[in-house]
Amino acid sequence: MLDLKEKTKQYSTRLGDDSLILGHRISEWTSNGPFLEEDIALGNVALDYIGRARMFYTYAADLAGNGKTEDDLAYLRSEREFQNYLINELPRGDFAFTMVRQLFVDVFFSYYLKALTNSNDTELAAIATKSLKETRYHLRRSRDWTLRLGLGTDESKARMTKALAEIWGYVHELFEPDELELELIACGIAVDTREIKDNWFADIGAILSEADLAIPDAEWAVRGGRKGYHTEHLSMLLSVMQSVHRAHPGANW
């Protein structure tokens, strides 16, 4: 039986995993954006997520109290040790794919972080308060792009429709807390995503409908991120992201 501190450490680590992996994926747009202004805007969002990962990891490292740091958590763990939701590790795809994922994640975080601000764990609540403002801006962007692309050209609409179909099966695990989260929900520390689900579906339905896009009727669902079971994409992401740190352990800037 793990004590509460250990469980909170694991919870903060997986929240860090979500932010780091998504932040890295968005950062892959740097110098590849559709035009300069959007390139910079995406870079800002990536940095928001990586900064958020640092806060969650630093807190997890403090709780561990074994001398390990945020860098150990980010750069020296293997694929099976990461517990991010799978939606965050999917390759960036085209711009429509990236924006659909952002829309899904931004709506999710807008409710998740708001709930986390009420956590009994004051550190997690403080991180959530800081992050919520960023997420509100991210959502403004992803909602705006969803409307532009959905109501844009035949090409942009077709790409959005394809992206929606490809990502839809990855949203279900967002609303299925595992054992660790259920225990922390009972302690008033973790967010119960089952309570977010209806709001998420309602908001996404409304935005997609305004963008003249349909919610996919796909029945498939992929799960496993919180258990450390990942798509084949995560190991490649990690090998790139961790390569410098592993090649030069302990190097300082």
Partner: protein, 95 residues
């Protein structure tokens, strides 16, 4: 997306201490709302501002270099338009 679908906007930012908006640069965007978001991302990343204006570059009517002789030279020989041209009577003292 290519730039031909986008318009050019001029960006004006008011800093927290500034009283007026100052021109800081330009950017491409699809419309004004879009430009406002990009202005936030491109020009206020280091806490430079608390208020942003964006204006379509095409909507700005500007003086041309060719107009300079007619526009600006005539004021060069009219020093009486400057307050410093007028000597103050002693009785006024320091204004």
């Amino acid at each position: 997306m290519s730039l031909e679908n986008l318009e050019l906007f001029e960006v004006f930012v008011r800093s927290s201490r500034g009283l007026d908006h100052k021109h800081v640069g330009s950017l491409h965007a699809e419309d004004a709302e879009h430009a406002l978001d990009y202005a936030r991302d491109c020009y206020t990343r280091r806490s430079e501002g608390i208020s942003i204006w964006v204006v379509k570059s095409a909507d700005i009517c500007s003086s041309q270099e060719d107009d300079a002789p007619e526009f600006f030279d005539p004021s060069d020989d009219k020093p009486y338009r400057h307050a410093t041209y007028y000597p103050l009577p002693k009785e006024v003292g320091n204004m």
